[in-house]
C-alpha cells in the first residue's frame, strides 16, 4: 500500500521566479570610478592629442585657430571640394546601409524569432561571419562581384553599401538580438493577434516600439561603421570620408585631423541619441 498525495504544482513557480541567482558581487563605488577613469583616460588621450594637434602651428610650435578658421575661408569649398564630396558619399552610403539593415536584416530576424526559431543559430552564425573575415580578404571576394554590380547598377557610390551591408551585419545583429532577447516578442505578438491585429499591425504597433532601442542602436552603429570604413572603399577605388581624409592628410594633416574629430563627434552624438530616443514611454515614466 502507498499514499499518493495530489500536489499543487503551480505554487512553487512564484518562488522560482523571485529567487533569481546572483552571480558575483557588484563592484564598489571606488572600483567603478577607477575602472571608468582608466578606460576614460585610454579613450581620451588620443582624442585630446588630436584636439591639441589641430591648434598647433607646425612651424613655430605655438597655438593658433588658423586651422579651424581656414575651413570657413572663402575658397575652402573649392580647396576641400573632394573632401566635401567624400562626406556626401559617406552619408549616402550610411543611409543606404541603414536601409539595408532595416529592410533586410530586421524583418529576417523577426521572422526567424517568431516563426523559425530553429534557424536562430544559423542566422547568428551567418551574421557573425563578416567579423571574422579581414576586410582585405572580403574585397578580394567582392572585386569580381562588383564587376557585375557595376554592370547592373552603374558605378554610383551607393552601390558600395552592398558591401557595407555585410560588414555591419555582426554589429547590427547583436544590437537587435539583445533587444529581442529582452522582450517577450512571441507572447506580445500572439496577444496582439488574438486582439485582431494583422501581421503589419503586430510589427508596426507592438514589436517595433518595443524594439526601438535595438533598431536605433543597429542603425547608428551602422552609420558609425560606414563613416569609419577605409579598406573596402580604397581597394575598390571609391571615394569616401576616410579615403579622402588620407588624401588630404598628405597635403594638410590638420584638416584631416579636424574632420576626423568631427566624424567622431558625430558618432558620439548618434550614441547619445540612442539613449535619448531609444527609450520607450515605459522607461521615461515615473515609477509607481
Amino acid at each position: 500500500m502507498m499514499v499518493s498525495a495530489g500536489t499543487l504544482p503551480g505554487r512553487d513557480k512564484t518562488s522560482r521566479v523571485s529567487n533569481a541567482t546572483r552571480v558575483g558581487a557588484e563592484p564598489s563605488r571606488t572600483a567603478r570610478a577607477v575602472i571608468l577613469g582608466v578606460v576614460g583616460v585610454v579613450f581620451a588621450i588620443p582624442i585630446v592629442g588630436m584636439i591639441i594637434f589641430t591648434f598647433r602651428d607646425g612651424l613655430t610650435g605655438t597655438y593658433t585657430l588658423d586651422h579651424w578658421t581656414g575651413l570657413f575661408a572663402p575658397d575652402a569649398a573649392r580647396t576641400y571640394r573632394n573632401l566635401f564630396t567624400a562626406i556626401g558619399n559617406s552619408l549616402t552610403l550610411a543611409a543606404v546601409t541603414v536601409a539595408i539593415v532595416l529592410v533586410l536584416l530586421l524583418p529576417t530576424m523577426l521572422l526567424v524569432h517568431l516563426q523559425f526559431p530553429r534557424l536562430r543559430r544559423v542566422l547568428e552564425f551567418i551574421c557573425i561571419i563578416p567579423i571574422t573575415v579581414p576586410a582585405v580578404v572580403l574585397v578580394v571576394g567582392l572585386a569580381p562581384v562588383y564587376s557585375i554590380v557595376v554592370r547592373t547598377f552603374g558605378g554610383s557610390i551607393w552601390t558600395l553599401a552592398f558591401a557595407y551591408g555585410i560588414t555591419v551585419l555582426p554589429f547590427a545583429y547583436r544590437a537587435i538580438q539583445s533587444n529581442l532577447e529582452s522582450v517577450d516578442v512571441i507572447t506580445l505578438s500572439e496577444a496582439a493577434r488574438s486582439l485582431g491585429a494583422n501581421w503589419f499591425s503586430v510589427t508596426w504597433r507592438v514589436l517595433l516600439p518595443n524594439l526601438r532601442r535595438g533598431v536605433l542602436a543597429a542603425s547608428f552603429i551602422s552609420v558609425a561603421v560606414v563613416l569609419g570604413e577605409f579598406t573596402i572603399a580604397s581597394l575598390l577605388n571609391r571615394v569616401n570620408l576616410q579615403t579622402a581624409l588620407l588624401q588630404v592628410s598628405q597635403s594638410d594633416p590638420y584638416v584631416a585631423v579636424i574632420f576626423s574629430l568631427l566624424a567622431l563627434a558625430f558618432a558620439f552624438v548618434l550614441l547619445l541619441l540612442i539613449g535619448r530616443f531609444g527609450s520607450t514611454g515605459r522607461d521615461r515614466s515615473p515609477s509607481a
Binding site: 500500500m1 502507498m2 499514499v3 504544482p9 512564484t14 493577434r193 488574438s194 491585429a197
Partner: protein
C-alpha cells in the same frame, strides 16, 4: 482586495464551441489525439492535466495560434479551423504577462478596439468601462511595469473582454501569481464570466483551481480527454485510476477483488460495480473515507498535519505501507501511537495493479 463593480460592458452572446476529432502533431510527437469537446454557450470549462498532456495545445488550437492537422473546430457551428487567429473573435489571457510595455493600461485595453476601427470616443469609453469592471479604473495611466502581477492579469482580462469576443480563453493566467492573489483573481474571473455569460475555456494544471471555478472539468492525459464532468463527478466518481489519482488526494492501496468486493487487509468493502475479474487490484480511497475506529486494520501513527478546519494523519500499516486519514482537528494522534483504521466508504476507483 477590492471587489469588482458590476460589469458595464455589454454582455457578449455566449457561443457554442465544438472540437471534433482534433489532432495535432509536433515533429513526430502527437500532442492531441483526436480531441472531442463540446462547450455550451456561457459554460466555463477547465482543461486540467499534468505538464505535456496537451491542454495548452488544445487551447491554442481553438484560438488559432496553432494549426490543427485533423479535425474541426466549430464556433456557433462555423468551422474556424482555417480562420486566422486575428479573425476568430476570441479573447485570450496568457500565462506570462502579455501587456504591451510601451502602452498604458488604457491604451492596452483600447488596442483590440483600435484594430476593429472603433471610433476614438467610443473606444476610450469602452476601455474605461472594462478597466472599471476589473477594478482598475484608477490605474488607467499606468504602464505594465508599474502594476503588480495580479493587476497586470486583470488589465489583460479587461483587454480580452472589451471587444466582446465570442469565446474567452485563459491559458494558466494565475500560475505566475502568489497564492493569495491567485485565489482572489480566480474568484473574480469566475464572477465576471458568470455576469457576462461568455463561453470560457480555462487551462490549468492546478486541480484545486479547476475544481473551484469550472462548471465542468476535462481531465487530459497524453493528448486525450480522460474524463469530463462536473467537479463533484470527477471527485466522487472518477472513471479511471489516473483521474482518481490526479484529482484530489487519494490513498493508493493494493487490494484483492473478490466477488465484486474489494478486500483490503481482510476488510471487505463494496466496490463501485466494477466488472473486473477477481484478482489483485489497486484501490483509490479518499482520506476522508478512512476513519479511526475501535476495531479495524491495525496501524501506527507516523505524523499528523494541522490544516485549519481539519487534520490529516499518516499511519503505517503492518506491511509498511502508508495510509492518509482525514479527521476532525480535535483528535490528536501522537506519532508512534497504535491505532485501528477502517474504511467509511467504498473506493472511488479500482485499477489493475502494475
Amino acid at each position: 482586495m477590492t471587489l469588482l463593480s458590476t460589469p458595464t460592458i455589454a454582455p457578449p452572446t455566449g457561443a457554442t464551441v465544438e472540437l471534433v476529432g482534433v489532432v495535432k502533431d509536433y515533429a513526430g510527437h502527437r500532442a492531441l489525439s483526436g480531441i472531442d469537446l463540446t462547450i455550451a454557450p456561457g459554460e466555463f470549462i477547465a482543461l486540467l492535466g499534468p505538464s505535456g498532456c496537451g491542454k495548452t495545445t488544445a487551447l491554442r488550437a481553438l484560438s488559432g495560434l496553432e494549426q490543427v492537422d485533423q479535425g474541426r473546430i466549430l464556433i456557433d457551428g462555423e468551422n474556424v479551423a482555417d480562420v486566422p487567429v486575428n479573425r476568430r473573435d476570441i479573447g485570450m489571457v496568457f500565462q506570462s504577462y502579455s501587456l504591451f510595455p510601451h502602452m498604458t493600461s488604457l491604451e492596452n485595453v483600447e488596442f483590440g478596439l483600435r484594430m476593429r476601427k472603433v471610433g476614438a470616443a467610443d473606444r476610450k469609453r469602452r476601455a474605461r468601462e472594462a478597466l472599471e469592471m476589473v477594478g482598475l479604473s484608477e490605474k488607467s495611466a499606468q504602464y505594465a511595469h508599474q502594476l503588480s502581477g495580479g493587476q497586470q492579469q486583470r488589465v489583460a482580462l479587461a483587454r480580452a473582454l472589451v471587444t466582446r469576443p465570442r469565446v474567452l480563453l485563459l491559458d494558466e493566467p494565475l500560475s505566475a501569481l502568489d497564492a493569495k492573489v491567485r485565489v482572489q483573481l480566480r474568484d473574480e474571473i469566475r464572477r465576471i464570466q458568470t455576469d457576462l455569460g461568455i463561453t470560457t475555456l480555462f487551462v490549468t494544471h492546478d486541480q484545486e483551481e479547476a475544481l473551484a471555478v469550472a462548471d465542468r472539468v476535462a481531465v487530459m492525459r497524453e493528448g486525450r480527454i480522460e474524463q469530463i464532468g462536473s467537479p463533484e463527478e470527477l471527485y466522487t466518481a472518477p472513471l479511471t485510476p489516473f483521474v482518481a489519482n490526479f484529482v484530489g488526494l487519494s490513498n493508493r492501496i493494493e487490494a484483492e477483488l473478490v466477488g465484486g468486493a474489494v478486500v483490503i487487509h481482510g476488510q471487505r468493502i463494496e466496490s463501485l460495480g466494477e466488472r473486473r475479474a477477481d484478482g489483485p487490484v489497486v484501490a483509490f480511497i479518499r482520506p476522508e473515507d478512512v476513519a479511526f475506529a475501535p476495531t479495524g486494520i491495525a496501524a501506527v501513527v507516523v505524523g499528523s498535519t494541522f490544516l485549519g478546519s481539519l487534520r490529516r494523519t499518516q499511519v503505517r500499516l503492518a506491511d509498511n505501507s502508508l495510509l492518509m486519514v482525514q479527521h476532525e482537528v480535535g483528535v490528536h494522534p501522537a506519532p508512534g501511537e497504535r491505532v485501528a483504521v477502517s474504511f467509511a466508504a467504498r473506493p472511488v476507483a479500482v485499477g489493475p495493479r502494475a
